[in-house]
């Protein structure tokens, strides 16, 4: 019993979040019908958690520093041609949380495998 209690406590120590993270990225995805299509979008990144104070939080996009928050919301004009990673960090660069803004290709028609190799008349 003592061992079991000890294990639970150790587990909580390891898995308990340091921050109560609450933020949102809108729009949350870019949906296109072909691989070479993209979205030009104004993405709003909003801090909704009291744990985040704008003056202490910054934004990285695809591992590159973008800017630090001055208000609860930051707007970013981006071209989404592939998945983009949004990361919240502290001012000294410590990572707080991340969000993957997906570039989704929705096939309008299902694809089928050809039964013969192309250009194989014989």
């Amino acid at each position: 019993m003592l061992l079991r209690t000890f294990t639970v406590v150790i587990g909580l120590l390891f898995f308990a979040p340091v921050y109560a993270i609450d933020w949102e990225v809108k729009p949350g995805e870019c949906v296109v019908s072909a691989e070479d299509e993209f979205c030009d979008a104004r993405v709003a990144v909003t801090l909704t958690s009291p744990a985040f104070t704008p003056l202490s939080t910054c934004l990285n996009i695809d591992e590159q520093f973008y800017d630090c928050f001055t208000t609860q919301q930051m707007q970013v004009d981006v071209r989404i041609a592939q998945d983009m990673m949004f990361q919240l960090t502290t001012r000294d660069g410590a990572r707080l949380d991340s969000f993957l803004l997906e570039h989704k290709v929705i096939d309008s028609r299902p694809k089928r495998r050809r039964v013969r190799l192309p250009w194989s008349v014989f």
């Binding site: 096939d107 028609r109 299902p110 694809k111 089928r112 495998r113 050809r114 039964v115 013969r116 190799l117 192309p118 250009w119 194989s120 008349v121 014989f122």
Partner: protein, 314 residues
């Protein structure tokens, strides 16, 4: 008649029986059942040549290449322009001459029934300008002795004397085959098993093929390596490569051809230049079976094919 010896000939003899034909069908059905347990992990991608349902793919490749012709006096079939025409509906399809219907294809298996021209006739049809220029030659030897007079017992005839030009035998007909094919895909691996039969009452026989394809990338090159084992029935081989009284007056030249196995391998490689343009290369080799190479109208025991060029997809 050639002596039936060795495993290949034994196997070809077995294939002549209906039991073996049904065994092939049974084996196919068994493999299909087994494939139902394979997880569908791989999706259709560019490596395995995909097409959207209810759409056409039309392309043309221009380059240089050809396919050797094993027949005596058979000219190499040139590959200069290779068309690529495919249409796929929800289940039906047309793919480079093959018209078929696919049952519920999954990401790992498909089964299709199809009709397709049999291309054996191509050896007898393409580019035989010598047909027009040499009207009556029967033998290829340069002896001044009339050929039929020098032949007595077939056992005494030299192999070279038994050659018979494709230009001097009765024309063979095109045939239309109907068949069934099972395919299995897993990651880079692809297995195909096919059985087809003449439905045009031309040769009244069967042929089958087991093929493995391995897809890989070498840099930006998309490479497919495909070893294959084909089987051609006695009826098919005898119709196209047997020699009958209509082909040669001398009984010593007449020949009943046996069926057999033909192993082969092909390598395909393509390199994307743009979305529409590709560099396309192909190499292939097939070893013909003894029942075919023993025929007086066949002089090579290998068929090679090659092509190098550029392909454009419209």
């Amino acid at each position: 008649m050639p002596q039936v010896t060795g495993f290949a000939n034994l196997a070809s003899g077995l294939f002549r029986s209906d039991i073996m034909k049904f065994s092939i069908l049974f084996f196919s059905a068994l493999l299909m059942m087994v494939s139902g347990t394979v997880s569908a992990s791989d999706e259709c991608d560019a490596r395995s040549a995909c097409i959207e349902s209810n759409s056409w793919q039309v392309g043309v490749a221009i380059g240089i290449g050809g396919r050797t012709n094993p027949l005596v006096d058979g000219d190499t079939i040139p590959f200069i322009l290779l068309p690529d025409i495919a249409w796929y509906g929800d289940s039906a399809y047309f793919d480079n001459g093959e018209l078929g219907y696919q049952w519920q294809p999954t990401s790992s298996t498909s089964v299709e029934a199809f009709v397709v021209p049999n291309f054996e006739k191509a050896n007898f049809s393409f580019w035989h300008v010598s047909n027009l220029l040499v009207p009556a030659a029967s033998y290829l030897n340069t002896s001044s002795t009339p050929p039929f007079q020098m032949i007595g017992d077939q056992q005494d005839v030299e192999p070279e004397d038994r050659r018979l030009s494709v230009d001097d035998i009765e024309s063979r007909k095109w045939a239309l085959d109907a068949g069934i094919r099972w395919q299995w895909y897993q990651d880079n691996h692809h297995i195909r098993l096919m059985l087809a039969r003449d439905i045009s009452s031309v040769y009244d026989g069967f042929h089958a093929a087991l093929e493995y394809r391995y897809y890989t990338n070498v840099g930006d090159w998309q490479v497919t390596v495909a070893p294959q084992l084909a089987w051609k029935s006695r009826a098919l081989t005898d119709y196209y490569y047997g020699v009958r009284s209509q082909d040669a007056a001398s009984e010593s030249l007449q020949y009943d051809a046996n069926g057999g196995f033909q192993p082969g391998i092909s390598v395909h490689a393509s390199y994307p230049l743009t979305k529409a343009w590709h560099v396309l290369t192909r190499l292939g080799a097939t070893r013909l079976h003894k029942g075919m190479t023993d025929s007086p109208v066949v002089e090579d025991n290998m068929v090679y094919s090659a092509f190098a060029g550029v392909a454009y997809r419209f």
